[in-house]
């Protein structure tokens, strides 16, 4: 009994020191001088653009990951292609790699003198220091989530239902929409939320390819960092608070989804 209480207290203290206290401090610091400086700081042009850009990049990256995740997930789980195992390994790469390295890789590939960068530059397309670069970096780092959520569920349900649909006259497309997709819907939703959370918060890879041009390529995490470096405490805390708030909403949605996932 005593040891259990001790364990619980230790776990709570750990959570408090590492998680609750820092997040709480951000909220406290943000509003230390009342609401009006926060409002001023958040309604500035650069802040509004940073929020817009982060949401835009996420809104492009997540659907790309959903499309890729479903195709790769079915290919891996149904072993429809010989390279399925290879894809399975590669999909985990963004997890294992430091985002900064991913950013560097994109930089060398798409920058001046890079193989793809020069080819595109001739055609007037600029990837680095513009929205496409941000989308590439963000998509890359948030790539594994949908695949990793969807594959175990696909493997668990097996292919009997899909084969049953085929014997009843359903083509592959109908079978996917009416049988496979409903079966994985909660796992897919969970993957989307995780992917969106990662995309919104991404800093490392994005910081290298963005060039951090205020009002053009500065995302919300980059804005926080810049304001922090410029000793704009209220500005940094306010933007940071917005990010933390989004995370809280995401955690709430995840909790709801994981409950649905277990019930189905």
């Amino acid at each position: 009994m005593g040891s259990r209480v001790l364990l619980r207290s230790a776990a709570l203290a750990y959570l408090f020191v590492l998680l609750l206290a820092p997040v709480g401090m951000i909220a406290y610091r943000t509003f230390a001088h009342g609401v009006s400086p926060v409002w001023t700081s958040l309604s500035s042009g650069s802040a509004r653009h940073a929020v817009f850009l982060s949401v835009l990049v996420t809104a492009i990256a997540v659907p790309l990951n959903v499309a890729f995740g479903l195709v790769a997930g079915v290919a891996i789980a149904r072993r429809r292609m010989p390279a399925g195992r290879m894809v399975n390994l590669l999909v985990n790469l963004p997890f294992a790699m430091s985002p900064v390295v991913i950013g560097l890789a994109l930089f060398t590939l798409y920058g001046r003198g890079g193989w793809v960068g020069d080819w595109l530059a001739v055609r007037g397309i600029q990837v680095l220091f513009s929205v496409p670069g941000l989308v590439f970096a963000t998509t890359f780092v948030s790539l594994p989530f949908v695949v990793r959520e969807v594959v175990p569920v696909l493997e668990e349900i097996g292919s009997d239902q899909e084969q049953a649909a085929a014997t009843l006259g359903a083509g592959p497309w109908t079978t996917f929409w009416r049988i496979t997709l409903p079966a994985i819907r909660w796992a897919l939703a969970y993957g989307i939320v995780l992917s969106a959370a990662r995309a919104l918060g991404e800093y490392g890879a994005v910081s290298i390819v963005s060039g951090n041009i205020v009002g053009r390529t500065q995302t919300l995490p980059l804005l926080v960092e810049e304001r922090f470096r410029n000793f704009d405490a209220v500005g940094a805390y306010s933007a940071g608070f917005v990010l933390a708030l989004i995370s809280l909403v995401i955690v709430a949605v995840m909790t709801l989804l994981s409950r649905r996932k277990e019930h189905s």
Partner: protein, 320 residues
């Protein structure tokens, strides 16, 4: 519809599921693919359905080469061992699925689903979900779903394998009845020889990827092509060089030409039957089954010497 599989071979890695199998299944009959687990019978059924592709060989349905035709265009109904129910759809939607995807008119769909639910005794449960049904009910739903598209060929993979004994017996009788009603050629896979004997018009006995024998149940029982067929379809015992059924052995009190001398080790009364275990001078044991009245008439006791021979005209296979 008649089915002809010609020289079908299928391997999974190093495992030979089917080796050069050729078999013909007659139109309108209820056929059992019978055999021990891992013998290749389910693989053959799945190849007929188009769910698996043969490595070599061809499949003809009603004389038409269907080898490269996808499952959805073969005009079949398939019932999976574990039902493969669509869990996010009600019983009604499960049964209607095949009609919906083939764009059948709504009024026809409604009428047909109602008829089928009636046929499988699930009318009252149309709005339930598969998770709210018992195993037997799920299996009947799976059957109704397969029948909805009016298949010319109904294929069932171990249809009663996952059910308990009582439900299994009910469903057996019911499947037999259903087969007469719907007039589809029906093929089912089973490892239960009793189930095959009771239900089927024709049995295809498959073992180790090869067809051992094809024929009516009595034919396989009375004229087995090999010792394997004989022992798979019922009890056997070895008398000298011959494999015989325990109830086909004659017990004599006096020596006779061709009869083996033996000593009784055990006498068991099993209701209508009696079983005696005897031992031959070479030490081999033989089991004999006879009616209780006959056993009493012979006044058999442990330690008695008797003489055994297989009754003339009965089934015997010799070691070969």
């Amino acid at each position: 519809m008649s089915i002809d599989a010609m020289s079908v071979t299928k391997t999974f890695g190093d495992f030979h599921a089917l080796r050069d199998v050729s078999v013909s299944i007659d139109r309108g009959k209820l056929t059992a693919l019978l055999g021990p687990s891992g013998g290749g019978k389910s693989t053959l059924l799945r190849i007929i359905a188009g769910l698996d592709e043969p490595d070599t060989g061809r499949v003809y349905i009603d004389g038409r080469d269907m080898t490269n035709v996808p499952a959805r265009r073969r005009g079949i109904g398939f019932v999976f061992q574990h039902y493969a129910a669509f869990p996010h759809m009600s019983v009604w939607d499960n049964v209607a699925f095949g009609l919906k995807v083939t764009r059948t008119a709504k009024t026809t769909t409604k009428q047909r689903v109602a008829e089928l639910l009636e046929l499988v005794h699930l009318s009252g449960l149309a709005h339930r979900y598969p998770s709210e049904l018992s195993g037997g009910q799920r299996q009947r739903m799976a059957l109704a779903r397969a029948l909805a598209v009016e298949p010319r060929l109904l294929l069932l993979d171990e249809p009663f394998g996952a059910l308990d004994v009582k439900v299994r017996e009910e469903l057996r009788a019911w499947l037999r009845q259903l087969h007469e009603q719907v007039h589809a050629t029906t093929v089912f896979v089973t490892h239960d020889q009793e189930e095959a004997m009771e239900l089927a018009d024709q049995i295809v006995l498959i073992n180790a990827g090869e067809v051992e024998q094809v024929g009516a149940p009595e034919e396989l029982y009375d004229n087995p092509a090999s010792p394997f067929v004989m022992s798979f379809l019922g009890a056997t015992t070895r008398l000298g060089d011959a494999l015989v059924r325990p109830h086909d052995i004659e017990v004599l009190a006096e020596p006779s030409a061709g009869a083996h001398e033996a000593m009784i080790e055990r006498v068991l009364g099993l209701g209508f039957h009696s079983r005696i275990d005897v031992v031959l001078p070479d030490g081999s044991s033989v089991t004999v089954q006879l009616t209780r009245a006959h056993a009493q008439q012979l006044e058999l006791g442990v330690g008695d010497i008797v003489f055994l021979r297989h009754m003339p005209g009965t089934t015997v296979t010799t070691n070969g």
